[in-house]
Amino acid sequence: MRKRLLTGVIAATVAVTSLVAVSSSQAASIDYSKCTDLKSCGGMDALVKAAQKEGKLNVITIPRDWANYGEALDLFTKAFGIKIADDNPDGSSAYEIQTVKTAPKSKAPDAVDVGITYGADNVNLFAPYKVATWKDIPAQWKEASGRWAGDYYGQIALAYDTSVTKAPKSFADLKDPAFKGQVAIGGDPTGAQEALMSVFAANLASGGTPANIQPGIDYFKGLKASGNFVSVLANGQNLAAGAYKVSFSWDFNGPGAIASAAKIGKTIKYVIPTDAVIKGTPYIMAIPFNAPHPAAARLWSEFLYSQNKGKTSATLGSVKGLSGSKIFASIQGGQNIWISGAAHPITEAAMKTKGLAINPPAGFETPAGATVVLPTPDQQTAAKELLKTQWPNL
């Protein structure tokens, strides 16, 4: 009995090994976990073919209503027939990095979308890959060898329930007693990027510079003292309960938030404040070394950075018989999908020069003549240190 089992095991092992040998010899020409740009990946046709063969893409912590990611996921699957698994959509950047480090290979993410410091601090986890539009990404927001790059920014908007007595247009407006008990923030600024940037924006509106956010903290202290600020977490649920009416929010969460508020009979509006336009340092995208679907990961990356104007998931027809590069050229690129979701793609400036940028949704326009300020990573570090001691004692 034992002997027979052993023979069986040997036979099976031989069979499996020879299978592996056959399949690897077929695709041996290109190692998709190592190729660093479209050319070394064999061109778009080969990349699409290899990605389709993998058939799957693991993404992580991508909420569907965040910066129109839902459309990007749907369009990618519809165009290339690649299934996407999204692990823990509402998780944090820290969770993403932890998963890259500890998840078994089959469940590891193929791409991450994290706060910028998480990229810089974990550069060794990521494989270098430069997308076709690499040169359009500003130098300060990418890693020189291609291990990570910014993908989109947000701007801090005022989001308000239209039942407020007067529509706010600026940070200064919110000091009005009419907003007593109505102003909230989307998290702890030492833990949530959106909240951190809200403090930067309030700071700018209060005459501060990004190098010193004390006036921004004082702004919130003032709002708390006057009773206008409530420390309830600004989210859809609490808005629905009437716990607050005005919050500071990434503009790119607007379309999703407006739609879900409408479902429960609330009308909310987004407005970019007139007294401060803060553009958040971009979130960054990176492909982990141990990505289980390396070709799909690189195709996803090319797709997110594509500046094409084209078909959306709603307008795309059958792609049967089309080559990979034809399909890719026919669909809306990720950079424009972000614009359609009120986000600001990293290559926006180049897209505008080339006339490739589509128009943002109505109501999310940056006020004419506004100076857009981007806090640098160093300024953010200084701000966090200040907030760590002062926010808890607001």
Binding site: L233, Q380, P392
Partner: protein
Amino acid sequence: MRFKKYSWLPLLPFFLFTGYFLLWPILGVTLRSLHDNHGNWSLSNYTPLLSGAYRHAFVTSIRLSVITSVISSLLGAFFTLVIVKNASSRLTSIIESVAAVFANSGGVPLAFMYIAAFGAEGMFTKILKFFGWDIYAGHFTLFSFTGVVLVYTFFMTPLMIIVFRPAILGLRKEWSEASLNLGATNLTYWRRVAIPILTPSFIGSFFLLFAGAFSAYATARALTVGTVPLVPIIIGTLVDGNVISDQANLGDALAVGMIFVAGIAMIGYIWAQRSAAKWRQS
């Protein structure tokens, strides 16, 4: 703890479970807290705990836990007495089930329940306003230290009822009869017999509530967005945030600090349980 041969076998799953979900993580957290970001052994993560914002967080957490435990244990003990003495068995079982439900409520749902009830546009806020009491006219707000105390008391008082009820049921009728026969008044019976017997159980329950309040996280986080500095919330921003990417080991050190405080509470609990057990023997 000595076992007959193989008699420990049925307990094996329990040991595996606690080993994997309790001891193993404690070991991991402790080891990580003793390393700096470059993987070298270091005590540097512990220095920030002794001063400034992090010490303040420990003080705030302990203060919150003590205040809520005192309120909840006193209220809970009082309710338990009233229930045991007066309620019919049917009512008691209803109260027990309700207490069990409330004692296990917590986290974001509990916070939301309070927001929906006592928020600026909450149901009860409106009802009270209708009757002429605007709870937001003064300085009260749900989204503050006081608010968190109120919400914690909501789940801790029922917990007290559950953990303290056995002690009160354990007061034997013979004892009160005996002391009455010996000429004691009801008050003397309570002062000289019942309260001394109940004290260890009361202290034990207090420590249990303390540990629960000390480790609670999501409720306070949903109500304060970090404006009330509690240790678990700060650990959350360090190990599971989107902003601070290089201080997870400091979070681990804070966690070890919490384990230390919770450990003291548990030692107190065990001591109290032992003292209480004296009266259950014989």
